[in-house]
Amino acid sequence: MTCIPAQTDKKLGLVIDLDTCVGCQACVTACKEWNTGGHMAPLTDIDPYGGDVDGVWFNRVHSYEHITEMGGRTVNFPRSCLHCEQPACVTVCPTGASYKRASDGIVLVDEDKCIGCKLCSWACPYGAREFDTDVGVMKKCTLCVDRIYNDNLVGEDRVPACVAACPTSARHFGDLGDPASAVSQLVASRGGVDLMPELGYQPTNKYLPPRAHTTRAASVPAPALEPVRAEGGFLGWVDRMLSN
């Protein structure tokens, strides 16, 4: 059923810290490794060792240059499904393959019902869904639904693979519907934001903007090296020889 539940018991999601993400792609590979054998397996790769590589990934890390009057910085930006509260990808689905769970708010695809019309990928402004041309169905992040409730894993491993893999703790997992949860507190203290809030999808995942520039660091880059003054004598001869 593609109608969205009026409310969900939990709002499970991710909080991604753009201040500490170093763009190492560990979350990307951990996601691929887990999910190519997980709930929405396989994450097909087309021509993986050829010249025209393509394939399904749930998580992709971009790099941006953000320049403000305070200076410039590189921002690494992981992009994945935000498990929106108003997921148009679900309501546009003609078959009922896409759904949002009333229990925890996770947005999933039933691969046995998907007809591969791709309309859900058009309805997602974030590019979270990727079509598997080999299987003919749409695929997307499951928030590692087969990890987070998995009794066969020890407690600390019951988090999405991307969160478990992150070496800088830039990814956090929890219930964003509970104001007392660690992730909600983190969002409140760091001023976490929604992506494209103007479109009204109300994403569950939040992004923590990079911390403000401090005055402790040099406010301008070091001055450029001055040109070497022409010298006479032996050093001048060496300079002329090396310059030729």
């Binding site: 990934w57 403000t68 591969g116 019309c117 309309l119």
Partner: protein, 311 residues
């Protein structure tokens, strides 16, 4: 957006087919068109043939076409599902109307009522097609007040030009139908120009800043997550048409509006065999022009995901 030919052909063909079906359903049922066997066979056959070909073409672009029947289930929330239901439901009154006209040789009584129902169902189906595109917020050029009226106008326009060619071919063309075609083609041309003008001046609130949550300043893409084109770029990062936009818009206008107008106006003045040939040429040129227009409708549409790629 990537203009998949199956979808371009689907919306163009069904638009013309439903337009023709609606006009036949109203005009034949009300006695403006005689209940002639061959006219009925060719007319309803052309309308239902275009609709069926379009629907089959759209099923062809599915990843798993054998499951297409599932698409009738989610009409409560999905415009695509509603389109599926409406398109199939239209075949019921349209089929009764065609049977009454072609096999029983009558277009009065219950056949006329079936014709009216077919016309209403055809209009509803075109509306559901338009609403699929209107409902997509990430594509500002589609999520606009111009989209739904555009689908209805172009359906009426292409349907009327087909009807005129049909009637002229059977030697029962009239200046009223010709005038209707001219007016609808002018309306379609004006609407398309207004739509392009609106889209060209569109100020989209979604930017690389809101897409990344990085406030202020400029956000420039340094590096993509992948070196090759992926599904997102192939499906939503289509750029060829933006490069040739001006030329393609000229071609679309020439074929879909200017040439059919000239041919239709000439058909006013010329006797039957010439008028019929010109009317047929007008319909063919307009269909080709609408394929270009619909191709541009997709190719010029910009999805918000391209912001992540600095496009």
């Amino acid at each position: 957006m990537h203009p998949a030919f199956s979808v371009v052909f689907f919306t163009t063909a069904t638009g013309a087919g439903y337009g023709l079906l609606a006009l036949l359903g109203v005009l034949a049922g009300q006695g403006f068109v005689p209940p002639d066997f061959w006219l009925g066979l060719v007319g309803t056959g052309l309308a239902l043939g275009l609709i069926t070909a379009g629907l089959l073409s759209s099923a062809g672009h599915l990843g798993r076409p054998e499951r297409a029947w599932r698409a009738f289930s989610q009409w409560r929330s999905s415009w695509l599902s509603r389109e599926g239901v409406a398109s199939v439901a239209t075949f019921v009154p349209a089929g009764l109307f065609a049977i009454g006209w072609v096999l029983l040789g009558r277009t009065d009584g219950w056949v006329a009522i079936a014709g009216l129902f077919a016309a209403v169902a055809a209009i509803v189906t075109v509306c559901t097609t338009g609403m699929i595109y209107v409902s997509l917020k990430p594509i500002a050029q589609w999520h606009s007040r111009f989209t739904l009226p555009g689908y209805l106008i172009f359906s009426a326009m292409t349907g009327s030009v087909l009807l005129n060619a049909l009637l002229q071919g059977f030697g029962i063309g009239s200046n009223i139908v010709l005038a209707g075609c001219v007016l609808l083609t002018l309306l379609g041309w004006g609407w398309k120009l207004a739509t392009w003008r609106y889209n060209d001046r569109l100020e989209i609130p979604t930017t690389a800043n809101t897409a990344t949550g990085l406030a202020g300043g400029t956000v420039r893409s340094l590096e993509w997550p992948h070196t090759e084109e992926n599904f997102l770029l192939k499906e939503m990062g289509f750029r060829v048409a933006r490069k040739h936009r001006v030329r393609l818009r000229q071609i679309a206008q020439a074929l879909a509006f200017a040439l059919p107008l000239a041919l239709l106006l000439a058909a006013f003045a010329l006797p039957r065999p010439f008028a019929a040939v010109l009317s047929a040429l007008a319909a063919i040129a307009q269909f080709a022009g609408m394929l270009v227009e619909r191709w541009l409708f997709f190719a010029e549409a910009k999805h918000t995901v391209t912001l992540y790629y600095g496009r």
